[in-house]
Point group: C2
Chain length 360, copies 2
């Protein structure tokens, strides 16, 4: 696999390049360190990525992988993640074509290409690499609370639902913390974050007995790289399908503080009919869920104001701050600073507590 910094990425997103399905592609366009040179989705040939998903002004959308080759990619990203994650049959031909042209494959789907006899065989014969991003190690261990006593300040994003901006909030905070001179690290827990960071683990793929243990391992690794560690959250405590992943990650990563993420226009859990609870209830729920294992507080609200005009977005932010008594912002659309300030205050409090304990 060509390393981060040397990749030129084409995205295969046939039939799925939109904000609902192309979360991985959008994340890599927005936050990846390597250029995305083209996106293949024949529905939008001739447009740019920004026309469809709001990022990627200079990223052309083309008919197919064959057409994308004109932009000299060396890596193909399978960039939509349909629920269940099966590799669409129509894609196989295009993936084979890419491998025959020497492209490495980054695969974020549940369907692993290394286990796909045909595609793995073609990769071998072409001498290209397959990276099944969601693949997790076979061996794991049960959590043992090893992340409870770290000096590093651990900040986990949590959310009202899936796909509300937890990864983006963590990445924006990490970047802003580094700009402010902190030794900061980002811990990726899902496929898009892993592709962007180049390391991490898809916690949702871990056997449930070991998901908290795997979260601990990730945080221990993050704490070697940063004094402030931003952990990418997963799912939601109120998500009927993924809440267990969320709680494993909360208890395993043992955050010192949590940033609650919410998409303002989301009134029901995506793909379900369940209402999204009020922010205030979500704050107390998360603090209740941590209270008996490693107590943690929600220290700020990261709103995703996508789809709202300027006035409505500002009003939503003010309302969230008012409802919860916490700093709130849209960290992608506006300045992440109010949330970073809350993190810095937490970090300083913890440092002072340690100094006091050492002195006394």
């Amino acid at each position: 696999m060509r390393p981060i910094g040397e990749r030129r990425i084409a995205v295969l997103a046939e039939g799925g390049f939109d904000l609902l399905e192309a979360k991985t592609a959008v994340g890599v366009i927005r936050y990846g360190r390597d250029p995305v040179v083209a996106v293949a989705d024949s529905r939008y040939t001739g447009r740019t990525a920004a026309d469809i998903v709001g990022v990627g002004d200079d990223v052309p959308i083309v008919e197919s992988v064959a057409a994308a080759l004109a932009y000299k990619p060396n890596t193909l990203l399978l960039g939509t993640a349909p629920r269940g994650g099966v590799l669409p049959a129509a894609w196989r031909r295009q993936v084979v074509h890419a491998m025959r042209e020497g492209l490495d494959i980054i695969n974020g789907l549940h369907h692993f290409l290394e286990e796909d006899e045909e595609l793995a065989g073609v990769a071998r014969s072409c001498g290209v690499d397959l990276w099944d991003v969601r693949r997790v190690p076979d061996e794991h261990r049960v959590a043992d609370t090893r992340a409870h006593q770290l000096d590093a300040t651990i900040v986990l994003t949590v959310g009202s639902d899936c796909n509300v901006g937890k990864m983006s909030a963590s990445l924006e905070l990490d970047a802003a913390a580094r700009r402010a001179g902190h030794r900061s690290a980002f811990v990726a827990t899902g496929q898009t974050g892993i592709i962007i960071a180049g390391w991490g683990m898809a916690i949702d793929r871990v056997i449930s007995d070991f998901a908290a243990g795997a979260s601990e391992d990730l945080v221990m690794q993050g704490a070697e790289q940063g004094d402030i560690v931003f952990v990418e959250g997963q799912g939601s405590l109120v998500h009927p399908g993924y809440s267990g992943v969320t709680l494993s990650l909360i208890h395993g990563s043992a955050p010192d503080g949590m940033i609650l993420c919410h998409q303002v226009t989301r009134t029901t859990i995506r793909r379900y009919t369940l209402p999204v609870p009020p922010l205030r209830d979500l704050v107390t729920l998360h603090e209740h869920a941590t209270a008996h294992v490693k107590p943690s507080r929600v220290i700020g609200i990261a709103l995703n104001t996508f789809g709202l005009d300027e006035a409505a977005a500002q009003q939503a932010i003010a309302a969230a701050a008012d409802e919860t008594g916490l700093p709130a912002t849209d960290p992608v659309r506006y300045d992440v600073q109010p949330l970073l300030a809350a993190v810095e205050a937490l970090h300083n409090r913890r440092k002072q507590q340690r100094e006091k304990a050492a002195a006394g």
Copy 2:
């Protein structure tokens, strides 16, 4: 595999036949429909199971599997579950011996015998069956709330920790409900329950993304068998390692009521230093965790008074009832009736609500 009703079980528990490690063996002795004819643990040769674990007056403990053969077993149960679940090396020789004598093997450990080249090969050559009880299907789906609208009344046991009596409480309730004339079913979610019931799934082995979906599937199957469905709980919402399994099971099984299980002498989470929260906090935590997905109430407290004398046990039960305002009992030591009455009241309320809705 010889079916339930035709098994004569020998248990291999070398070095592990005690209440801490031999949970599976103790459960099968207490609740299994087939006789356990002998237990192999050379530390206790000549004693009975009841001498060591309090159940199995007529179950001799013998030196080895070879010695157990005198009692004509046709099935060998690997009966201790050390954390991590690795098959102790010293056991392999005894397992091979059993297979050569024609015994089927029931294996509750994480280490799967079907994936163990040597043992799987011996099983094939001997014509005996291996049952890896914890093995789960490769294919799963994300939960979709299908268990939210069942007519059957779903009762889930939850707990203050692992190994406090959730399975026992569910089995006692199921048996008492059937004795009282109800069409009742038990849903097994862990290895011991599965061996006893003959079906079920080890939820903790499911990939975390799909653990709630698998729980739903189990409950749907249970609801075909019973109007009242007792679901075996797993772990605890306050367990640092297993809380995610617990929440997946809670949201997937979508209980109408929960029975909170607690071992009175347990003051810290087993194998951790974290204190077990007061029962009242645990009641509110579970009700909070369900409130936004499918609201559910704790309807009774199942105490495990093991290790307490009569007066202390009775006092603990009275204190639990007083603290929570809920019916409480030790369903193994005393009568399960107070908890069954709470379940019946819930079941009747739900029936009346349906009738009212149908009439109105």
